[in-house]
């Protein structure tokens, strides 16, 4: 029986992270003792009547290169709603440690436009805990409704590196990985050293790996890295108005973007009505992210 | 370009000091301003006979008849005269000079600052009886010497009438007025021959060039810019011409005089055609061409190089010949046209280091003499102006001591200003100067070199 946790509002990520860190520590101890949870908690977190803050929206739109309209970019809906899922991940009975989770991919279906005036009802749960070649991955599903209508649905896939949950057998064999060949670029992002801090300011996601070299080094990165969702949202902004009202925005994160840094990008029409995008390091030819934006039949 | 010496000897302690030391005492020259009276004091007209009466009547006549001056026929004691006009056209023997000249002598000490002495006489020619010729040529020596005696910025000049030219011919009247006026401030000791009765007097002496279209070459700066300003002030529509490289200054001049700028190298083969095309197309006519563009490339002849010689001749004279030919053969330069060309005292008296320049400027004098008769059929004429030491950017580059000496080597003991040259150009370009045919008028303060 699925339980529902009704939150009074969207939790602040800073608190969630703190709790998550605590939970991760307890989890590590529990795992050593063989008492760690190995299944996802059967729980749905909900918040209703969430409203966007116009100033935060404007700041987000300016930072990402979106027009400052009253329509919430899909990435901003993620910013609003995802802390609800993060709160779920910070539970003590969540089987993977929040600290150190790697954002592998993100899949958003924007079913209908969401505007500044819409009160949003958010539901979040975890699903599909499964093996990955280098650990365990899980989907965090977040749904946003306006009234009774599903407006936005996001699936964020996270990897807990090096954590094997027993009983699931061999890791699912990865599908054939196509080597990345840099295409003809259409643009370039020059990302300043403060890119992480600036996105943190508009998203509330103040994960230390994004904020400064010092804090990133403490967590094993040579320098601060850009938020994955920042790069994905830049690509979505580059697609621009051509994405239409309803679309699927899908991204896979292949390698971190160290800050400051330059990402060479291609954002172009695919063979049908959609767009493909990719961002890579022009020097090494290694990808940072790839993805698509395709129209969603109404 | 400031003549510091001139300023010093005319102010305060230094003025006194200069006087005690017997240093040259140049007087600041008064120059023409539109609307000001011709003379600011009475004029004394000396000489007997019909010509003297005619001129006295002209000077004294009221509006519509003459210049409305306060004219005396006999010297009134203790009167400070602004001008003395010696009408000597009817002298037939040197002894007849005595009465009018001595009458003039009596008023010279009281001559106003910037006063004027003008002789009006007839040209001495070989056909004259010896006594007549002696009397007439005597005026020449008299005037040149008198001019050297005048002080306080006063000048002496003469109008010399060719045989058969009446004393009230337009050019006689025009020249007399020019010499009396402040327009001739730096013209001194000169005798201008009036060759014919051609020419017309202006309706408005302040705007004698109204309705006329004038081209000025080398108009971007210095004397050329001043000529453009002066012709425009006198009513002309000015086409300001200079080399493309001087275009920025040229535009400034053209805009100042509300004329048009034509960037053109006067040595170009089609320069004449382009000048004519521009003037006709933009202004409907062409009446006056002032050949002012000129360059110097000084070198002793022993050290002369072909490029220095050839470029000076090409710009200073060959271009003028080619442009004149284009104008004269066009059929569009026929309404009392005027060519005024810039010569130089170097072209008359010679100047060390300027064989090329003097050849070109001497050439100008020859050119206008031969060109003017080709224009008289249309009421036109060509004349030259020969500046002496003029304060310009060019003369400012002369070493300081040389420059100081050069300035004092004339009766007015100072350098002239570009506007002095421009005023003379404007007079020779005016309708009244139609009877002055192929002459050279010097603007040199009666420089000691040459004639």
């Amino acid at each position: 029986m699925t339980s529902t946790v009704v939150l009074p509002g969207v939790p602040a990520l800073a608190g969630v992270y703190a709790r998550g860190a605590g939970a991760s520590g307890r989890l590590a101890v529990a795992r050593r003792l063989g008492r760690a949870p190995s299944a996802l908690p059967d729980v749905v977190y909900t918040v209703s009547g969430v409203r966007a803050d116009p100033q935060q929206l404007t700041a987000y739109q300016h930072l990402l290169g979106e027009p400052a309209s009253d329509r919430l970019p899909a990435g901003f809906v993620h910013v609003l709603a995802f802390p609800v899922a993060t709160a779920l991940m910070a539970r003590t009975d969540f089987p993977l440690p929040l600290a150190g989770l790697v954002h592998l991919s993100n899949h958003v279906e924007q079913h209908r436009p969401v505007t500044l005036d819409d009160p949003l009802d958010v539901r979040a749960w975890a699903a599909d805990l499964r093996a990955h070649r280098s650990g365990t991955q899980v989907d965090l599903v977040t749904e946003v409704r306006t009234g009774d209508t599903l407006a936005w649905r996001g699936v964020s896939t996270y990897l807990a590196r090096g954590i094997r949950l027993g009983g699931d057998g061999a890791p699912a064999s990865d599908e054939e990985r196509v080597p990345f060949v840099p295409p003809t670029p259409t643009g370039r992002w020059r990302l300043a050293a403060d890119t992480g801090r600036r996105y943190a300011a508009v998203s509330g996601d103040r994960n230390p790996i994004h904020l400064s070299s010092l804090s990133a080094k403490a967590l094993g990165f040579p320098r601060a890295i850009a938020h994955g969702m920042y790069t994905a949202a830049r690509a979505l902004a580059d697609v621009g108005a051509a994405r239409g009202d309803a679309y699927v925005w899908s991204v896979e994160f292949a390698g971190p973007v160290l800050l400051p840094g330059t990402v060479t990008v291609r954002v172009a029409h695919d063979d049908a009505d959609g767009f493909t995008f990719a961002g890579w390091d022009a020097r090494s030819g290694k990808p940072h992210l790839t993805g698509t934006v395709t129209p969603l039949a109404a | 370009m400031t003549d510091t010496y001139l300023n010093l000897v005319n102010s305060g302690v230094t003025k006194k000091l200069a006087k005690q030391l017997g240093l040259p005492q140049p007087a600041p020259l008064r120059r023409h301003q539109p609307g000001q009276p011709l003379l600011d004091g009475p004029a004394l007209v000396l000489g007997s006979g019909a010509d003297a009466d005619t001129l006295a009547a002209l000077l004294a006549g009221g509006p519509g008849l003459g210049w409305d001056l306060d004219v005396h026929r006999h010297a009134v004691p203790d009167t400070r005269y602004a001008a003395v006009v010696l009408v000597l056209t009817e002298v037939v023997h040197p002894t007849e000079l005595s009465a009018p000249v001595l009458a003039a002598a009596g008023v010279l000490k009281g001559l106003a600052r910037g006063g004027r002495v003008v002789t009006v006489s007839r040209e001495a020619v070989a056909d004259d009886a010896p006594a007549v010729a002696a009397a007439r040529q005597g005026v020449d020596g008299l005037l040149r010497s008198l001019a050297k005696e005048l002080r306080g910025g006063a000048t002496g000049n003469g109008v010399v009438l060719h045989a058969g030219v009446p004393v009230d011919a337009p050019s006689s009247v025009g020249a007399l007025r020019f010499f009396l006026s402040r327009r001739s401030a730096f013209v001194d000791g000169q005798l201008l021959v009036v060759d014919s009765s051609a020419g017309t007097l202006p309706d408005d002496w302040d705007r004698p060039l109204a309705g006329r279209v004038a081209v000025v070459t080398g108009a971007a700066r210095g004397i050329g810019a001043s000529i453009a300003d002066t012709l425009a002030r006198d009513g002309a529509t000015v086409v300001a011409v200079d080399v493309p490289a001087a275009g920025e200054q040229l535009a400034t001049v053209a805009n100042r005089v509300r004329g048009t700028a034509l960037q053109l190298d006067v040595t170009a083969d089609d320069a004449g055609a382009r000048i004519l095309e521009h003037a006709l197309q933009r202004h409907g006519r062409l009446d006056i061409v002032v050949h002012n563009a000129g360059i110097t490339r000084d070198k002793l002849l022993a050290n002369m190089t072909p490029d220095k010689w050839d470029s000076v001749l090409a710009v200073n004279i060959a271009s003028q010949l080619r442009i004149n030919e284009a104008l004269l053969t066009s059929g569009d330069f026929t309404d009392a046209p005027r060519i005024v060309s810039l010569a130089s005292t170097s072209g008359i008296a010679g100047n060390r280091g300027q064989t090329n320049y003097a050849a070109s400027k001497g050439g100008v004098i020859g050119m206008v003499r031969a060109t003017a008769p080709l224009l008289t059929a249309f009421g036109g004429t060509a004349n030259a102006v020969a500046p002496g030491f003029i304060e310009t950017d060019m003369t400012a580059r002369i070493p300081a001591l040389t420059r100081q000496v050069a300035r004092r080597l004339n009766s007015l003991q100072q350098g002239g200003l570009p506007v002095d040259v421009a005023e003379t150009v404007a007079f020779l370009a005016s309708p009244a100067a139609g009877g002055v045919v192929g002459r050279v008028l010097r603007v040199c303060g009666q420089n000691m070199v040459g004639q």
Binding site: T186, R188, A268, F275 | G247, A254, R258, A261, D265
Partner: protein, 446 residues
């Protein structure tokens, strides 16, 4: 393709609007960035160009119907740049003026906009123009400092003021220099064109040939005195500073490529076959037949028609500077003309390869069929008719001033050609611009 039905139009059509004429032009020589005009502002240069025009055509104190000009790099204090320049010029202070901005097409757009007004009878006379200074480009304060200063100006209490200032960090005081990168792609114009160059397989040699010809033709025109009544010197500069009379294929071949270095095709674009940053200003005198006659001005050319275009370079559909490749076919179709009907084709040399990729697109069967919707290739431009007196590679390219340079130059050439050979020769003018823009126009000898 637009669904409009192609309709043949001529200026002789009595039912159509009246003619709008190019009567002359004036520009100052173009200087290299940091050169002779390093300390001249946009207003200084535009005023100088206007004054030169006024001097050439005797327009002192004249009340011109309207003056339109603009600058691409503009200080905020220059919000009324054109009007301020008019007030500083010898024109009547009662001459109205407005600013216009369309990146590198600004100059040509002012010509199009004003000639349209003349054709409609709203204006009898006009002056079009443009100016740009890369030496005196606006330097902005950082976004954070700007925000703080604005908040400070709105703050009422000392506490609010302190709070605003407290947000400042030392690095916020560093100025933000203007970038010429495309805002939506982060790529410079050169990098964009490098992609297009690679796409169309344009060789280094072909680009260097275009550059060499541009220098040779501009130099020849200067030497022949062609620019004597088109250019007025400024600040001691008599000819375009970028003009290299002594350049050669050999010299051009020694230059190292500067754009397209990270592509997998050989980099071909160098400082020699790309336009340098330039300072300068240009003006074009426009008027109706009646006004020209009343002012004894000789019509040089009529501005017949114009067509703007734009491409989706953001998503790599077309090269950044390829809009004219689409606009010209539309323009010619509307006028019932082909490329062969033009005695002159002026294609702004943003880069040598811009000219070549445009020509390549027009010569491509595939491009003609798939992108232009034509049965085959659009057509071929006879190279002897292309940029006959040189173009931006030699003259330089002060962004907004280029349109005026081209229009005045080719109008004079059209008039000269008509006077020499009769007929009514036409010229096609094509200017590409940042933002994937293009503006094209047809002129014919008047």
């Amino acid at each position: 393709m637009a669904a409009s039905t192609p309709k043949s139009r001529t200026t002789a059509d009595p039912a159509g609007p009246r003619r709008a004429l190019v009567l002359g032009g004036n520009r100052i020589p173009f200087a290299r960035a940091g050169g002779k005009y390093a300390h001249a502002s946009n207003q200084d240069m535009l005023t100088a160009a206007l004054d030169g025009l006024v001097a050439r055509y005797g327009l002192q104190g004249e009340r011109i119907g309207q003056v339109a000009a603009g600058a691409v790099l503009k200080h905020s204090r220059d919000f009324n740049l054109t009007r301020e320049s008019v007030l500083g010029s010898a024109l009547s202070p009662e001459t109205p003026a407005y600013d216009l901005q369309e990146a590198c097409a600004t100059g040509l757009e002012t010509v199009v906009a004003l000639t349209n007004k003349i054709r409609l009878g709203q204006l009898e006379s006009a002056i079009a123009g443009g100016v740009d200074s890369t030496s005196d480009a606006p330097i902005a304060v950082s976004d954070r400092l700007r925000r703080v200063l604005l908040d400070l100006s709105h703050a009422k209490t000392p506490q609010q003021k302190l709070a605003a200032v407290a947000r400042l960090r030392p690095k916020d005081l560093a100025p933000a220099a203007p970038r010429t990168d495309e805002p939506r792609t982060g790529l410079s114009m050169g990098e964009h064109q490098a992609l297009t160059t690679a796409q169309w397989g344009i060789t280094r040699e072909a680009q260097d040939e275009i550059a060499l010809l541009s220098h040779q033709r501009l130099a020849a025109a200067y030497d022949a005195g062609f620019f004597d009544d088109l250019v007025t010197p400024f600040r001691g500069l008599v000819r375009d500073a970028n003009l290299r009379t002594d350049t050669s294929m050999e010299k051009l071949a020694t230059l190292k490529p500067t754009f397209g270095l990270t592509l997998d095709t050989p980099a071909t674009m160098t400082a020699g076959n790309s336009t340098p940053l330039t300072d300068g200003a240009s003006t074009v005198l426009l008027g109706s037949d009646e006004w020209a006659a009343a002012h004894d001005l000789t019509p040089l050319a009529a501005v017949v028609d114009a067509e703007a275009g734009a491409v989706d370079f953001v998503h790599g559909v077309d090269g950044l500077l390829m809009a004219p490749a689409f606009a010209v076919p539309r323009l010619l179709a509307r006028n019932g003309l082909t490329l062969d009907d033009f005695a002159y084709v002026e294609i702004h040399e943003a880069f040598a390869s811009t000219v070549l990729t445009t020509l390549a697109a027009w010569e491509s069967e595939e491009f003609g069929r798939d992108r232009l919707g034509l049965p085959g290739a659009f057509g071929k431009v006879d190279r002897s008719r292309l940029n006959v007196h040189g173009s931006s590679l030699a003259a330089g390219h002060p962004f907004a001033a280029t349109g005026g340079r081209i229009v005045a130059t080719i109008s004079k050439e059209l008039h000269r050609r008509k006077a020499a050979e009769g007929g009514t020769p036409r010229a096609l003018v094509s200017v590409c611009a940042a933002g994937g823009l293009g503006l094209t126009a047809i002129l014919e000898a008047a």
